[in-house]
Symmetry: C2
């Protein structure tokens, strides 16, 4: 059985569901864990801008974790880590066959069930990456430059540059700290990113 | 509306569901939060021994949180913090009317739903108090003597003095640290406690 855990965000991924996944993969690897970041759908324009800007590769697409499904990559029960979501309907096909070992999320919970005890870090903040920065620090680590850029972008995206009603002081503080590590001007980068996401209509170039 | 949050463990409470609740109430009060520990049923013999030993008062019984139920204490939507459980069927009557603001648990999750984002700390360890000790430390605090006794007792109870398959190295380490603060000999106190819980049949004196 593969001991590798796949980390992914929700279907129809937003910047948080791509960038927090990459940052958590980086942290887990630094901690010596066997994990791989994945995505459950096409990148949107905003996320493409972010990955381009920081020269980071997108996670590989994951179609299903059901070992019996067509196109299955796994032959045994897959270990999975859910970021930025917890509801089955937003998650990977075949989730009911997998072992959920961790959840990191900032949303309400919906009919969430597991077969085993697991690690959950949920907090009522504006973005998954705000929770991730806390976890980095609990491990006496900080994200390196590119991953700080990923986490910063996730926070800017989820909070609409701190304008959303879900934004908390912790999100602002995390973003300010991450912008320093990432070496960008928070306001300028944030506006550029949001504008990149809004432009060229609403179709992804990959659609 | 009452801003006080009620903290409680599961129905048919075990030592974890009483003692971790008391320890989390103490921590929250130290942090200036408005909370009150409660219990969802009668104490068992083991828990009575623990409360007696450390001279700690049992939490008050809570019958329901439904504002429209007979015997309701609250007239508005009640804030609640769930310890040592997450499934509705193990929780307080009227939970579906309440706002769950936090969950601290070490069990698998079962059809867990909320109306709002919330704080969840779940970890696959042997006892809720092992997670609580981590949270104390994250706040640069340690439990005082009586509360260390509560947390130690919860760990001994849930792990059967480290013999249960759910016991992890973190539980053992936490118990050793808590025994020092509580000023008891871990092995001797642990055996006395488990024997007190096993004796006199299985009926609580309050039943
Ligand atoms: Mn999202
Ligand atoms: Mn998000
Ligand atoms: Mn219990
Ligand atoms: Mn327990």
């Amino acid at each position: 059985m593969s001991e590798k855990a796949l980390i992914f965000g929700h279907k129809n991924p937003d910047t948080d569901s791509i960038c927090s996944v990459l940052a958590y993969e980086a942290l887990k690897k630094q901690l010596g864990e066997n994990v791989e970041a994945r995505r459950l759908g096409n990148l949107n324009k905003e996320t493409e801008f972010v990955l381009n800007y920081f020269d980071v590769e997108a996670p590989k697409l994951l179609a299903t974790v059901d070992p019996n499904a067509e196109g299955a990559e796994n032959t045994e029960r897959q270990k999975v880590i859910l970021i930025d979501h917890n509801e089955r309907i937003q998650s990977v096909d075949g989730l009911e066959t997998a072992q959920i070992t961790e959840v990191i999320d900032h949303h309400k919970f919906g009919e969430f069930s597991t077969f085993e005890p697991l690690m959950i870090r949920a907090e009522p903040v504006g973005c998954s990456s705000t929770i991730l920065l806390t976890i980095y620090k609990e491990n006496d680590l900080l994200p390196e430059k590119k991953m700080a850029g990923m986490m910063l972008s996730a926070i800017i995206s989820d909070t609409l540059l701190f304008k959303s009603p879900t934004c908390t002081p912790r999100d602002v503080k995390a973003a300010e700290e991450l912008a320093k590590i990432a070496g960008v001007d928070l306001e300028k980068y944030g506006m550029d990113m949001l504008i990149a996401g809004a432009s060229f209509g609403d179709k992804s170039t990959k659609e």
